[in-house]
Symmetry: none
DNA sequence: TTAGAACTGAAAGATTCTGATCGGATGGTA
DNA sequence: TACCATCCGATCAGAATCTTTCAGTTCTAA
């Protein structure tokens, strides 16, 4: 990571949380505390943040609050029932990507959490999630590609009614998607719009990777998206029903525990 | 690969991601780091990018860190020299649209201000401005269509390198665009990227409506976008040079004062 | 075709950055 | 106050990056 990028991330993190400790920053940016201290000193010289014992503080009172409101909504979902699990699953998902690799990410709350980890990596992302694209555009420097189409606010996605699409020029090894439920019968989704969006992108990727926290395992949603055989990898957490997982393995699904 | 091509690619990559490391660029362009460094130096001389340790940074966005927040920067510009004028011009632009009408809006700061008024109306909007789309999606309930493509952070636009595009299915009476300068010789723009984006969308609209505050009237930018004859309506403010306006009228441009 | 200019990749040396370490400073607690 | 844990700044070796130089290649114009 470039020094400038690190500086930007530090300021972002400080702005977002109002305060950030040296320890936290060094863990977050995967660098030594010495470097963080040096960075904080430089940013302090530039008046980009306040230096306080133990870390750094946001320099602006006004805009700080505004920005917090913005990002608060994005991370509000983090603290849901299965927030932590989802977050770890998202982390695991990003970790299996290779540097520089182009990936496809479908809209949804689970996949949205990949954003936090994607911005630390150098991956090229195609996503129909307007929210994810916006998050990465603001916080990261990944290359981002959006399909064309209309914005569906409720789903937070961009979807075109036409076959011709920017997507067709994109190719990737991995496509990531969330799900409402997965059983040995297949992957299900709750919203037909999401299904259409998913199917468009799925053609362009070789591996289909499904992310589902344990509450989704063995559950069935309203609409069937695809049979279990077509899933290459399932990422879930350690509370998933082992019986269902075994059935999925029998259908050729590789199961990863986050 | 020709040097010129390489330079273009480097600038593109830097624009898209805001940063690019020497290492990454040399891998991406399949050339030695020595060459990349030389290229970066040349492009730096030409002010096409900023040189930073480890790589290069996008030049468009000066003070960087603060402005990164896509939505925060939006109203900052409101308070610029011509902020009020721009705002009134944007208001006028929206006012000439008919309810329910589909319109095309090109990226840029002036056109962005249309957002504030668009959300109060019932118009269907096609825009390549990621910022504008985000603003309307958050604050309004208009139907929004985005072209597919990659996100260019500094311009805040989505642009595809391919001809095939969602845009081609869209048709509209009116296309709105800002400009860096307009004279009887034509409409000019500062950023070649914006030109590419503009020309794609222009084909889909019947009327071309240019928005330019008085400081832009009679001024010339770096790149010529189109001759004055192709402009149907010009919206400007009451301080515009009347002599230039008359010349434009003689070229068939209808001039509206906001 | 040839001479000269421009470009490229590689290597050497200078510069800057990073991570680790250590003594001293700071804040909290009894 | 005395003690402890933690944090900070200074320092140094090693790593990464930058500039310069040089030799080989490609391009250009006569």
């Amino acid at each position: 990571m470039l020094e400038k990028q690190r500086h930007q991330l530090i300021v972002d993190l400080v702005e977002k949380a109002r305060f950030a400790s040296v320890n936290h920053l060094s863990a977050e940016l995967n660098t030594s505390e010495a470097t963080i201290r040096r960075d904080i000193n430089k940013l302090y010289e530039l008046n980009k943040l306040k230096k306080i014992r133990g870390g750094a503080e946001s320099v602006s009172n006004d805009s700080g609050i505004k920005q917090r409101a913005l990002s608060a909504s994005t991370f509000a979902s983090n603290h849901g029932m299965h927030g932590d699990k989802k977050r770890r699953i998202a982390e695991k998902a990003v970790s299996i990507c290779n540097d520089g690799e182009p990936i496809i990410v479908n809209g949804g709350t689970t996949t949205f959490m990949m954003g936090e980890f994607l911005i630390k990596r150098n991956l090229s992302v195609l996503t129909n999630s307007f929210k994810l694209a916006h998050y990465i555009a603001e916080h990261g420097d990944n290359q981002i590609t959006l399909p064309g189409g209309e914005i569906y606010r409720d789903q937070g996605i961009v979807l075109s009614s036409f076959e011709q699409d920017t997507i067709q020029y994109y190719h990737s090894n991995k496509m990531f998607m969330g799900t409402q439920g997965i059983t040995e019968l297949g992957v299900t989704e709750s919203d037909p719009l999401l299904i259409r969006a998913e199917q468009k992108m799925r053609k362009q990727a070789e591996q289909l990777i499904v992310m589902a926290d344990s509450s989704k395992i063995g559950r069935r949603g309203n609409f069937i998206l695809c049979p279990a055989e077509q899933v290459d990898i399932l990422i879930t957490d350690d509370e998933a029903d082992e019986k269902v997982l075994q059935e999925l393995r029998d259908h050729g699904v590789e199961v990863l525990i986050a």
